[in-house]
Subunit: 200 residues, 3 copies
Protein backbone atom coordinates (compact mmCIF):
# COMPACT_ATOMS: atom_id res chain seq x y z
CA UNK A 1 0.00 0.00 0.00
CA UNK A 2 1.14 3.49 -0.69
CA UNK A 3 -0.17 7.01 -0.33
CA UNK A 4 -2.77 8.93 -2.35
CA UNK A 5 -2.69 12.52 -3.57
CA UNK A 6 -5.72 14.00 -5.32
CA UNK A 7 -4.99 15.32 -8.80
CA UNK A 8 -5.82 18.90 -7.80
CA UNK A 9 -3.13 19.05 -5.09
CA UNK A 10 0.53 19.94 -5.35
CA UNK A 11 3.36 18.04 -3.69
CA UNK A 12 6.73 19.75 -4.09
CA UNK A 13 10.09 18.05 -4.35
CA UNK A 14 11.83 16.16 -1.55
CA UNK A 15 8.61 15.48 0.33
CA UNK A 16 8.19 12.23 2.27
CA UNK A 17 4.69 10.82 2.67
CA UNK A 18 4.00 7.62 4.59
CA UNK A 19 2.04 4.62 3.42
CA UNK A 20 -1.73 4.85 3.68
CA UNK A 21 -1.77 8.65 3.87
CA UNK A 22 -4.36 10.51 1.80
CA UNK A 23 -4.04 14.08 0.56
CA UNK A 24 -7.38 15.43 -0.62
CA UNK A 25 -8.37 18.34 -2.89
CA UNK A 26 -6.61 21.70 -3.39
CA UNK A 27 -3.80 21.08 -0.91
CA UNK A 28 -0.14 21.98 -1.13
CA UNK A 29 2.77 20.18 0.51
CA UNK A 30 5.97 22.20 0.40
CA UNK A 31 9.53 21.05 -0.16
CA UNK A 32 11.12 18.89 2.48
CA UNK A 33 7.96 18.22 4.49
CA UNK A 34 7.75 14.81 6.17
CA UNK A 35 4.31 13.30 6.71
CA UNK A 36 3.86 9.98 8.49
CA UNK A 37 1.70 7.01 7.57
CA UNK A 38 -2.09 6.72 7.67
CA UNK A 39 -2.61 10.46 7.85
CA UNK A 40 -5.59 12.27 6.36
CA UNK A 41 -4.88 15.69 4.83
CA UNK A 42 -8.16 17.41 3.99
CA UNK A 43 -9.18 20.00 1.43
CA UNK A 44 -7.14 23.19 1.09
CA UNK A 45 -4.47 22.15 3.58
CA UNK A 46 -1.04 23.75 3.43
CA UNK A 47 2.05 22.00 4.83
CA UNK A 48 5.02 24.33 4.90
CA UNK A 49 8.67 23.65 4.10
CA UNK A 50 10.37 21.04 6.29
CA UNK A 51 7.36 20.57 8.58
CA UNK A 52 7.27 17.20 10.35
CA UNK A 53 3.96 15.43 10.92
CA UNK A 54 3.69 12.09 12.72
CA UNK A 55 1.65 8.98 11.97
CA UNK A 56 -2.14 8.79 11.92
CA UNK A 57 -2.54 12.55 12.10
CA UNK A 58 -5.89 13.91 10.86
CA UNK A 59 -5.74 17.40 9.41
CA UNK A 60 -9.17 18.67 8.47
CA UNK A 61 -10.03 21.20 5.76
CA UNK A 62 -8.36 24.64 5.65
CA UNK A 63 -5.53 24.01 8.12
CA UNK A 64 -2.11 25.50 7.37
CA UNK A 65 0.83 23.92 9.20
CA UNK A 66 3.55 26.53 9.01
CA UNK A 67 7.31 26.20 9.44
CA UNK A 68 8.32 25.32 13.02
CA UNK A 69 4.94 23.77 13.82
CA UNK A 70 5.30 20.07 14.63
CA UNK A 71 2.47 17.58 15.00
CA UNK A 72 3.24 14.29 16.73
CA UNK A 73 1.46 10.97 16.17
CA UNK A 74 -2.32 10.80 16.41
CA UNK A 75 -2.86 14.54 16.57
CA UNK A 76 -6.28 15.71 15.37
CA UNK A 77 -6.60 19.19 13.82
CA UNK A 78 -10.21 20.19 13.34
CA UNK A 79 -11.39 22.13 10.28
CA UNK A 80 -10.06 25.68 9.94
CA UNK A 81 -7.81 25.37 13.00
CA UNK A 82 -5.12 28.04 12.64
CA UNK A 83 -1.45 27.94 13.53
CA UNK A 84 1.01 30.82 13.44
CA UNK A 85 4.79 31.13 13.60
CA UNK A 86 5.55 34.81 14.12
CA UNK A 87 4.40 36.45 17.33
CA UNK A 88 4.40 40.04 16.05
CA UNK A 89 4.19 40.09 12.25
CA UNK A 90 4.63 43.37 10.39
CA UNK A 91 4.81 43.45 6.60
CA UNK A 92 7.53 46.08 6.57
CA UNK A 93 9.64 44.16 9.11
CA UNK A 94 9.81 40.58 7.80
CA UNK A 95 11.18 38.01 10.21
CA UNK A 96 14.03 35.62 9.58
CA UNK A 97 13.50 31.89 10.07
CA UNK A 98 15.41 31.93 13.36
CA UNK A 99 13.01 34.55 14.71
CA UNK A 100 10.00 32.27 14.18
CA UNK A 101 8.51 30.71 17.30
CA UNK A 102 8.05 26.94 17.49
CA UNK A 103 4.80 25.19 18.27
CA UNK A 104 4.73 21.55 19.34
CA UNK A 105 1.52 19.55 19.45
CA UNK A 106 2.25 16.37 21.32
CA UNK A 107 0.88 12.92 20.59
CA UNK A 108 -2.82 12.31 20.73
CA UNK A 109 -3.79 15.95 21.26
CA UNK A 110 -6.90 17.44 19.67
CA UNK A 111 -7.07 20.97 18.25
CA UNK A 112 -10.74 21.81 17.87
CA UNK A 113 -12.38 23.32 14.81
CA UNK A 114 -11.50 26.97 14.14
CA UNK A 115 -9.20 27.13 17.17
CA UNK A 116 -6.26 29.54 16.98
CA UNK A 117 -2.88 28.48 18.35
CA UNK A 118 -0.58 31.40 19.06
CA UNK A 119 2.96 30.34 18.29
CA UNK A 120 5.57 29.45 20.87
CA UNK A 121 3.49 26.97 22.86
CA UNK A 122 3.64 23.28 23.68
CA UNK A 123 0.32 21.47 23.68
CA UNK A 124 0.70 18.43 25.91
CA UNK A 125 -0.13 14.81 25.11
CA UNK A 126 -3.86 14.18 24.73
CA UNK A 127 -4.77 17.77 25.52
CA UNK A 128 -8.13 18.77 24.09
CA UNK A 129 -8.56 22.30 22.70
CA UNK A 130 -12.23 23.11 22.25
CA UNK A 131 -13.62 24.50 19.00
CA UNK A 132 -13.18 28.25 18.56
CA UNK A 133 -10.59 28.58 21.35
CA UNK A 134 -7.58 30.87 21.28
CA UNK A 135 -4.57 29.20 22.89
CA UNK A 136 -2.06 31.70 24.25
CA UNK A 137 0.24 29.55 26.42
CA UNK A 138 1.42 26.03 27.12
CA UNK A 139 -1.26 23.40 27.71
CA UNK A 140 -0.88 20.55 30.19
CA UNK A 141 -1.19 16.95 29.03
CA UNK A 142 -4.84 15.78 29.05
CA UNK A 143 -6.09 19.32 29.80
CA UNK A 144 -9.49 20.33 28.42
CA UNK A 145 -9.20 23.95 27.29
CA UNK A 146 -11.66 26.35 25.76
CA UNK A 147 -12.55 30.02 25.46
CA UNK A 148 -10.78 33.16 24.26
CA UNK A 149 -8.25 33.14 25.80
CA UNK A 150 -8.44 29.40 26.39
CA UNK A 151 -8.57 28.36 30.03
CA UNK A 152 -8.59 24.90 31.54
CA UNK A 153 -12.02 23.45 32.29
CA UNK A 154 -11.11 19.89 33.29
CA UNK A 155 -9.33 16.84 31.98
CA UNK A 156 -9.90 14.52 29.04
CA UNK A 157 -9.09 10.83 28.66
CA UNK A 158 -7.07 9.48 25.74
CA UNK A 159 -10.23 8.34 24.02
CA UNK A 160 -11.86 11.74 24.45
CA UNK A 161 -14.09 11.64 27.53
CA UNK A 162 -14.20 14.26 30.23
CA UNK A 163 -12.97 12.79 33.51
CA UNK A 164 -14.63 13.24 36.84
CA UNK A 165 -11.97 12.99 39.55
CA UNK A 166 -13.96 12.22 42.68
CA UNK A 167 -12.58 8.98 44.06
CA UNK A 168 -9.49 9.17 46.26
CA UNK A 169 -6.91 6.43 46.45
CA UNK A 170 -3.66 6.68 48.48
CA UNK A 171 -3.85 10.45 48.61
CA UNK A 172 -4.43 11.03 44.89
CA UNK A 173 -7.58 11.55 42.87
CA UNK A 174 -8.57 8.75 40.53
CA UNK A 175 -11.03 8.64 37.62
CA UNK A 176 -11.87 6.16 34.92
CA UNK A 177 -12.80 6.83 31.31
CA UNK A 178 -16.48 6.16 30.67
CA UNK A 179 -15.83 4.26 27.44
CA UNK A 180 -12.44 2.57 27.82
CA UNK A 181 -12.49 2.08 31.63
CA UNK A 182 -8.83 3.13 31.62
CA UNK A 183 -7.92 4.62 34.97
CA UNK A 184 -6.19 7.98 35.40
CA UNK A 185 -4.64 9.65 38.42
CA UNK A 186 -4.44 13.35 39.28
CA UNK A 187 -1.68 14.48 41.62
CA UNK A 188 -0.16 17.95 42.04
CA UNK A 189 -2.26 19.16 39.11
CA UNK A 190 -0.67 16.64 36.75
CA UNK A 191 -2.74 13.89 35.22
CA UNK A 192 -1.43 10.55 34.07
CA UNK A 193 -2.64 7.13 33.07
CA UNK A 194 -2.43 4.44 35.71
CA UNK A 195 -0.25 1.74 34.25
CA UNK A 196 1.91 -1.03 35.67
CA UNK A 197 4.45 1.44 37.03
CA UNK A 198 1.93 3.59 38.85
CA UNK A 199 -0.51 0.89 39.97
CA UNK A 200 -1.07 0.53 43.66
CA UNK B 1 -32.15 27.65 -16.62
CA UNK B 2 -29.81 25.24 -14.98
CA UNK B 3 -26.95 25.33 -12.51
CA UNK B 4 -23.32 26.45 -12.94
CA UNK B 5 -20.15 24.80 -11.64
CA UNK B 6 -16.79 26.53 -12.13
CA UNK B 7 -14.25 24.40 -14.01
CA UNK B 8 -11.92 24.24 -10.99
CA UNK B 9 -14.51 22.56 -8.75
CA UNK B 10 -15.38 18.91 -8.32
CA UNK B 11 -18.88 17.47 -8.18
CA UNK B 12 -18.94 13.78 -7.38
CA UNK B 13 -21.50 11.26 -8.60
CA UNK B 14 -25.15 11.14 -7.57
CA UNK B 15 -25.23 14.79 -6.58
CA UNK B 16 -28.43 16.82 -7.10
CA UNK B 17 -28.09 20.55 -7.73
CA UNK B 18 -31.09 22.80 -8.23
CA UNK B 19 -31.70 25.23 -11.05
CA UNK B 20 -30.01 28.61 -10.76
CA UNK B 21 -27.42 27.43 -8.24
CA UNK B 22 -23.81 28.52 -8.73
CA UNK B 23 -20.74 26.67 -7.46
CA UNK B 24 -17.66 28.85 -7.60
CA UNK B 25 -13.92 28.12 -7.55
CA UNK B 26 -12.07 25.26 -5.82
CA UNK B 27 -15.11 23.68 -4.23
CA UNK B 28 -15.98 20.03 -3.78
CA UNK B 29 -19.44 18.50 -3.59
CA UNK B 30 -19.39 14.93 -2.37
CA UNK B 31 -21.47 11.95 -3.46
CA UNK B 32 -25.16 12.03 -2.75
CA UNK B 33 -25.35 15.66 -1.63
CA UNK B 34 -28.59 17.46 -2.45
CA UNK B 35 -28.43 21.21 -3.03
CA UNK B 36 -31.54 23.26 -3.71
CA UNK B 37 -32.17 25.91 -6.33
CA UNK B 38 -30.76 29.45 -6.47
CA UNK B 39 -27.98 28.70 -4.01
CA UNK B 40 -24.55 30.33 -4.09
CA UNK B 41 -21.63 28.09 -3.13
CA UNK B 42 -18.48 30.22 -2.75
CA UNK B 43 -14.78 29.52 -3.15
CA UNK B 44 -13.26 26.52 -1.38
CA UNK B 45 -16.55 25.21 -0.07
CA UNK B 46 -16.90 21.55 0.88
CA UNK B 47 -20.24 19.78 0.92
CA UNK B 48 -19.96 16.34 2.47
CA UNK B 49 -21.61 13.07 1.47
CA UNK B 50 -25.42 13.05 1.57
CA UNK B 51 -25.69 16.56 3.03
CA UNK B 52 -29.01 18.27 2.30
CA UNK B 53 -29.11 22.01 1.57
CA UNK B 54 -32.33 23.90 0.89
CA UNK B 55 -33.22 26.57 -1.67
CA UNK B 56 -31.64 30.02 -1.88
CA UNK B 57 -28.90 29.15 0.60
CA UNK B 58 -25.78 31.35 0.44
CA UNK B 59 -22.57 29.62 1.49
CA UNK B 60 -19.64 31.99 1.50
CA UNK B 61 -15.98 31.12 0.97
CA UNK B 62 -14.25 28.44 3.05
CA UNK B 63 -17.30 26.84 4.63
CA UNK B 64 -17.35 23.04 5.03
CA UNK B 65 -20.78 21.48 5.51
CA UNK B 66 -20.05 18.10 7.02
CA UNK B 67 -22.18 14.95 7.21
CA UNK B 68 -25.24 15.37 9.45
CA UNK B 69 -25.27 19.15 9.07
CA UNK B 70 -28.49 20.31 7.40
CA UNK B 71 -29.19 23.80 6.08
CA UNK B 72 -32.81 24.71 5.40
CA UNK B 73 -34.07 27.26 2.85
CA UNK B 74 -32.65 30.79 2.88
CA UNK B 75 -29.85 30.05 5.33
CA UNK B 76 -26.85 32.39 5.08
CA UNK B 77 -23.39 31.04 6.04
CA UNK B 78 -20.81 33.82 6.25
CA UNK B 79 -17.23 33.33 5.06
CA UNK B 80 -15.13 30.86 7.03
CA UNK B 81 -18.03 29.81 9.25
CA UNK B 82 -17.15 26.40 10.69
CA UNK B 83 -19.35 23.40 11.37
CA UNK B 84 -18.36 20.19 13.12
CA UNK B 85 -19.89 16.75 13.50
CA UNK B 86 -17.93 14.97 16.22
CA UNK B 87 -18.07 16.36 19.73
CA UNK B 88 -14.83 14.80 20.98
CA UNK B 89 -12.58 13.88 18.05
CA UNK B 90 -9.44 11.85 18.65
CA UNK B 91 -7.36 10.58 15.74
CA UNK B 92 -6.69 7.24 17.39
CA UNK B 93 -10.38 6.71 18.19
CA UNK B 94 -12.25 7.40 14.96
CA UNK B 95 -16.01 7.71 15.23
CA UNK B 96 -18.61 5.79 13.29
CA UNK B 97 -21.25 7.66 11.34
CA UNK B 98 -23.90 6.89 13.97
CA UNK B 99 -21.73 8.55 16.63
CA UNK B 100 -21.72 11.86 14.75
CA UNK B 101 -23.90 14.61 16.17
CA UNK B 102 -26.46 16.34 13.96
CA UNK B 103 -26.69 20.08 13.43
CA UNK B 104 -29.81 21.67 11.99
CA UNK B 105 -29.86 25.26 10.78
CA UNK B 106 -33.47 26.22 10.26
CA UNK B 107 -34.90 28.39 7.52
CA UNK B 108 -33.76 31.95 7.19
CA UNK B 109 -31.06 31.75 9.87
CA UNK B 110 -27.74 33.59 9.50
CA UNK B 111 -24.39 32.14 10.60
CA UNK B 112 -21.95 35.04 10.79
CA UNK B 113 -18.47 35.11 9.33
CA UNK B 114 -15.92 32.91 11.09
CA UNK B 115 -18.51 31.67 13.59
CA UNK B 116 -18.02 28.16 14.99
CA UNK B 117 -21.01 25.88 15.43
CA UNK B 118 -20.39 23.04 17.84
CA UNK B 119 -22.26 19.99 16.63
CA UNK B 120 -25.49 18.71 18.13
CA UNK B 121 -27.40 21.97 18.10
CA UNK B 122 -30.52 23.31 16.45
CA UNK B 123 -30.33 26.91 15.26
CA UNK B 124 -33.86 28.24 15.11
CA UNK B 125 -35.62 29.97 12.21
CA UNK B 126 -34.19 33.42 11.46
CA UNK B 127 -31.69 33.24 14.30
CA UNK B 128 -28.70 35.51 13.76
CA UNK B 129 -25.26 34.30 14.88
CA UNK B 130 -22.81 37.19 14.99
CA UNK B 131 -19.42 37.03 13.32
CA UNK B 132 -16.72 35.26 15.32
CA UNK B 133 -19.19 33.62 17.73
CA UNK B 134 -18.88 30.12 19.16
CA UNK B 135 -22.28 28.45 19.41
CA UNK B 136 -22.40 25.75 22.07
CA UNK B 137 -26.11 25.05 22.45
CA UNK B 138 -29.51 25.37 20.80
CA UNK B 139 -30.50 28.83 19.58
CA UNK B 140 -34.06 30.16 19.74
CA UNK B 141 -35.82 31.32 16.58
CA UNK B 142 -35.03 34.99 15.82
CA UNK B 143 -32.40 35.13 18.59
CA UNK B 144 -29.41 37.44 18.11
CA UNK B 145 -26.36 35.64 19.48
CA UNK B 146 -22.73 36.61 19.76
CA UNK B 147 -19.58 36.07 21.80
CA UNK B 148 -17.51 33.08 22.85
CA UNK B 149 -19.51 31.26 24.09
CA UNK B 150 -22.37 32.87 22.20
CA UNK B 151 -25.08 34.38 24.41
CA UNK B 152 -28.32 35.99 23.39
CA UNK B 153 -28.25 39.77 23.04
CA UNK B 154 -31.70 40.44 21.61
CA UNK B 155 -33.92 39.50 18.71
CA UNK B 156 -33.67 39.96 14.95
CA UNK B 157 -36.41 40.37 12.35
CA UNK B 158 -36.62 38.18 9.27
CA UNK B 159 -35.08 40.89 7.16
CA UNK B 160 -32.20 41.34 9.61
CA UNK B 161 -32.99 44.25 11.90
CA UNK B 162 -32.61 44.24 15.65
CA UNK B 163 -36.00 44.57 17.32
CA UNK B 164 -36.83 46.86 20.18
CA UNK B 165 -39.69 45.35 22.17
CA UNK B 166 -41.08 48.28 24.10
CA UNK B 167 -44.74 48.52 23.18
CA UNK B 168 -47.19 46.34 25.04
CA UNK B 169 -50.36 44.99 23.51
CA UNK B 170 -52.77 42.60 25.30
CA UNK B 171 -50.09 41.50 27.76
CA UNK B 172 -47.36 40.75 25.23
CA UNK B 173 -44.49 42.84 23.92
CA UNK B 174 -44.71 44.00 20.32
CA UNK B 175 -42.08 45.42 17.95
CA UNK B 176 -41.96 46.23 14.28
CA UNK B 177 -39.07 45.80 11.87
CA UNK B 178 -37.56 49.15 10.90
CA UNK B 179 -37.37 48.27 7.20
CA UNK B 180 -40.29 45.94 6.49
CA UNK B 181 -42.73 47.23 9.15
CA UNK B 182 -43.59 43.58 9.86
CA UNK B 183 -44.80 43.23 13.43
CA UNK B 184 -43.46 40.68 15.88
CA UNK B 185 -44.64 39.58 19.29
CA UNK B 186 -42.59 38.39 22.28
CA UNK B 187 -44.33 36.21 24.85
CA UNK B 188 -42.78 33.79 27.36
CA UNK B 189 -39.36 34.42 25.82
CA UNK B 190 -40.54 33.18 22.42
CA UNK B 191 -40.71 35.53 19.49
CA UNK B 192 -43.02 35.15 16.51
CA UNK B 193 -44.35 37.10 13.58
CA UNK B 194 -47.80 38.59 13.96
CA UNK B 195 -49.87 37.17 11.17
CA UNK B 196 -53.56 36.66 10.60
CA UNK B 197 -53.76 33.99 13.26
CA UNK B 198 -52.13 36.07 15.96
CA UNK B 199 -53.52 39.46 15.04
CA UNK B 200 -55.61 41.17 17.64
CA UNK C 1 10.79 42.38 -12.84
CA UNK C 2 7.14 41.55 -12.99
CA UNK C 3 4.58 39.65 -10.94
CA UNK C 4 4.00 35.91 -10.53
CA UNK C 5 0.72 34.00 -10.50
CA UNK C 6 0.71 30.27 -9.76
CA UNK C 7 -0.85 28.18 -12.50
CA UNK C 8 -3.68 27.00 -10.23
CA UNK C 9 -4.95 30.52 -9.56
CA UNK C 10 -7.38 32.65 -11.54
CA UNK C 11 -6.91 36.30 -12.36
CA UNK C 12 -9.93 37.85 -14.06
CA UNK C 13 -9.90 40.63 -16.64
CA UNK C 14 -8.94 44.24 -15.95
CA UNK C 15 -6.88 43.38 -12.89
CA UNK C 16 -3.75 45.40 -12.08
CA UNK C 17 -0.93 43.66 -10.22
CA UNK C 18 2.27 45.46 -9.26
CA UNK C 19 5.81 44.38 -9.93
CA UNK C 20 7.27 41.81 -7.57
CA UNK C 21 3.90 40.60 -6.31
CA UNK C 22 3.34 36.85 -5.95
CA UNK C 23 -0.02 35.11 -6.07
CA UNK C 24 0.21 31.55 -4.77
CA UNK C 25 -2.00 28.46 -5.15
CA UNK C 26 -5.77 28.27 -5.56
CA UNK C 27 -6.43 31.99 -5.35
CA UNK C 28 -8.84 34.12 -7.30
CA UNK C 29 -8.50 37.79 -8.15
CA UNK C 30 -11.73 39.31 -9.44
CA UNK C 31 -12.29 41.84 -12.18
CA UNK C 32 -11.01 45.35 -11.62
CA UNK C 33 -8.97 44.61 -8.49
CA UNK C 34 -5.82 46.65 -8.04
CA UNK C 35 -2.92 45.10 -6.15
CA UNK C 36 0.29 47.00 -5.45
CA UNK C 37 3.88 45.92 -5.83
CA UNK C 38 5.82 43.41 -3.72
CA UNK C 39 2.69 41.89 -2.22
CA UNK C 40 2.36 38.25 -1.20
CA UNK C 41 -1.04 36.65 -1.82
CA UNK C 42 -1.14 33.22 -0.16
CA UNK C 43 -3.06 30.03 -0.84
CA UNK C 44 -6.82 30.20 -1.33
CA UNK C 45 -7.02 33.96 -1.16
CA UNK C 46 -9.97 35.76 -2.73
CA UNK C 47 -9.76 39.39 -3.86
CA UNK C 48 -13.16 40.73 -4.79
CA UNK C 49 -14.19 43.02 -7.64
CA UNK C 50 -12.56 46.48 -7.63
CA UNK C 51 -10.78 45.95 -4.30
CA UNK C 52 -7.69 48.12 -3.83
CA UNK C 53 -4.62 46.76 -2.06
CA UNK C 54 -1.47 48.81 -1.46
CA UNK C 55 2.20 47.97 -1.81
CA UNK C 56 4.05 45.34 0.20
CA UNK C 57 0.85 43.88 1.64
CA UNK C 58 1.09 40.31 2.93
CA UNK C 59 -2.13 38.32 2.72
CA UNK C 60 -1.76 34.89 4.26
CA UNK C 61 -3.69 31.74 3.35
CA UNK C 62 -7.51 31.70 3.31
CA UNK C 63 -8.16 35.43 3.50
CA UNK C 64 -11.02 36.86 1.44
CA UNK C 65 -10.87 40.61 0.79
CA UNK C 66 -14.42 41.53 -0.12
CA UNK C 67 -15.79 44.55 -1.98
CA UNK C 68 -15.39 47.79 -0.01
CA UNK C 69 -12.49 46.44 2.05
CA UNK C 70 -9.33 48.46 1.42
CA UNK C 71 -5.83 47.52 2.57
CA UNK C 72 -3.21 50.26 2.54
CA UNK C 73 0.55 49.80 2.14
CA UNK C 74 2.40 47.34 4.38
CA UNK C 75 -0.73 45.79 5.87
CA UNK C 76 -0.29 42.24 7.19
CA UNK C 77 -3.28 39.87 7.15
CA UNK C 78 -2.59 36.69 9.09
CA UNK C 79 -3.85 33.30 7.90
CA UNK C 80 -7.62 32.82 7.91
CA UNK C 81 -8.31 36.40 8.96
CA UNK C 82 -11.89 37.17 7.96
CA UNK C 83 -13.41 40.36 6.58
CA UNK C 84 -17.09 41.06 5.97
CA UNK C 85 -19.03 43.71 4.08
CA UNK C 86 -22.67 43.31 5.12
CA UNK C 87 -23.58 43.97 8.72
CA UNK C 88 -26.81 41.96 8.77
CA UNK C 89 -26.81 39.42 5.94
CA UNK C 90 -29.98 37.47 5.18
CA UNK C 91 -30.19 35.19 2.15
CA UNK C 92 -33.76 36.19 1.36
CA UNK C 93 -32.93 39.92 1.60
CA UNK C 94 -29.82 40.42 -0.53
CA UNK C 95 -28.08 43.78 -0.18
CA UNK C 96 -27.21 46.20 -2.93
CA UNK C 97 -23.62 47.38 -3.31
CA UNK C 98 -24.46 50.75 -1.79
CA UNK C 99 -25.72 49.04 1.35
CA UNK C 100 -22.36 47.35 1.97
CA UNK C 101 -20.25 48.78 4.78
CA UNK C 102 -16.68 49.86 4.09
CA UNK C 103 -13.65 48.65 6.01
CA UNK C 104 -10.34 50.49 5.84
CA UNK C 105 -7.12 48.99 7.14
CA UNK C 106 -4.56 51.75 7.26
CA UNK C 107 -0.88 51.50 6.48
CA UNK C 108 1.31 49.19 8.47
CA UNK C 109 -1.52 47.59 10.47
CA UNK C 110 -1.50 43.90 11.38
CA UNK C 111 -4.61 41.71 11.38
CA UNK C 112 -3.75 38.60 13.38
CA UNK C 113 -4.43 35.03 12.33
CA UNK C 114 -8.10 34.00 12.36
CA UNK C 115 -9.21 37.45 13.50
CA UNK C 116 -12.67 38.59 12.40
CA UNK C 117 -13.20 42.18 11.29
CA UNK C 118 -16.81 43.26 11.40
CA UNK C 119 -17.47 45.63 8.51
CA UNK C 120 -17.76 49.38 8.82
CA UNK C 121 -14.59 49.99 10.84
CA UNK C 122 -11.35 51.85 10.33
CA UNK C 123 -8.24 50.14 11.66
CA UNK C 124 -5.66 52.81 12.32
CA UNK C 125 -2.07 52.96 11.11
CA UNK C 126 0.16 50.31 12.71
CA UNK C 127 -2.65 48.95 14.85
CA UNK C 128 -2.09 45.35 15.89
CA UNK C 129 -5.08 42.99 16.06
CA UNK C 130 -4.19 39.85 17.99
CA UNK C 131 -4.88 36.38 16.63
CA UNK C 132 -8.43 35.14 17.11
CA UNK C 133 -9.83 38.59 17.94
CA UNK C 134 -13.22 39.90 16.87
CA UNK C 135 -13.02 43.59 15.98
CA UNK C 136 -16.37 45.36 16.37
CA UNK C 137 -15.43 49.05 16.15
CA UNK C 138 -12.77 51.51 15.03
CA UNK C 139 -9.23 50.88 16.23
CA UNK C 140 -6.80 53.66 17.13
CA UNK C 141 -3.45 53.95 15.37
CA UNK C 142 -0.79 51.78 17.08
CA UNK C 143 -3.40 50.17 19.37
CA UNK C 144 -2.83 46.57 20.48
CA UNK C 145 -6.21 44.85 20.47
CA UNK C 146 -7.30 41.33 21.34
CA UNK C 147 -10.20 39.29 22.64
CA UNK C 148 -13.82 38.74 21.63
CA UNK C 149 -14.90 41.48 21.42
CA UNK C 150 -11.44 42.98 20.91
CA UNK C 151 -10.41 45.53 23.51
CA UNK C 152 -7.27 47.60 23.71
CA UNK C 153 -4.44 46.16 25.80
CA UNK C 154 -1.64 48.63 25.06
CA UNK C 155 0.28 50.08 22.17
CA UNK C 156 2.58 48.63 19.53
CA UNK C 157 5.52 50.20 17.73
CA UNK C 158 5.79 50.26 13.95
CA UNK C 159 8.20 47.34 14.01
CA UNK C 160 5.87 45.32 16.25
CA UNK C 161 7.00 45.70 19.84
CA UNK C 162 4.73 46.43 22.77
CA UNK C 163 5.54 49.84 24.22
CA UNK C 164 5.92 50.61 27.88
CA UNK C 165 5.01 54.26 28.46
CA UNK C 166 6.62 55.07 31.79
CA UNK C 167 8.94 57.98 31.17
CA UNK C 168 7.43 61.45 31.22
CA UNK C 169 8.72 64.32 29.15
CA UNK C 170 7.09 67.78 29.01
CA UNK C 171 3.81 66.46 30.31
CA UNK C 172 3.47 63.55 27.88
CA UNK C 173 4.40 59.89 28.20
CA UNK C 174 7.30 58.68 26.12
CA UNK C 175 8.47 55.18 25.18
CA UNK C 176 11.03 53.73 22.82
CA UNK C 177 10.77 50.61 20.72
CA UNK C 178 13.01 47.83 22.08
CA UNK C 179 14.38 46.91 18.64
CA UNK C 180 14.40 50.12 16.57
CA UNK C 181 14.91 52.62 19.44
CA UNK C 182 12.34 54.83 17.69
CA UNK C 183 10.64 57.06 20.23
CA UNK C 184 6.89 57.42 20.57
CA UNK C 185 4.74 59.82 22.53
CA UNK C 186 1.33 59.25 24.16
CA UNK C 187 -0.87 62.26 24.77
CA UNK C 188 -4.65 62.44 25.23
CA UNK C 189 -4.85 58.72 24.48
CA UNK C 190 -3.31 59.23 21.03
CA UNK C 191 0.05 57.74 20.20
CA UNK C 192 2.45 59.07 17.61
CA UNK C 193 6.03 58.76 16.53
CA UNK C 194 8.38 61.49 17.71
CA UNK C 195 9.74 63.09 14.59
CA UNK C 196 11.18 66.46 13.71
CA UNK C 197 7.84 68.17 14.17
CA UNK C 198 7.17 66.76 17.61
CA UNK C 199 10.73 66.68 18.99
CA UNK C 200 11.37 68.72 22.06
Amino acid sequence: MTYFVHESSYVDELVTIGSGTKVWHFSHIMKGAIIGRDCVIGQNVYIDTDVVIGNNVKIQNNVSVFKKVTLEDNVFCGPSAVFTNVINPRSAYPKEFDEYSSTLVKQGATIGANATIICGVIIGEFAFIGAGSVVTRDVLPYALMYGNPARQHGWMSESGNKLDFQKKRNGALVASCSTSQTEYILKNNRMSKINENHAD
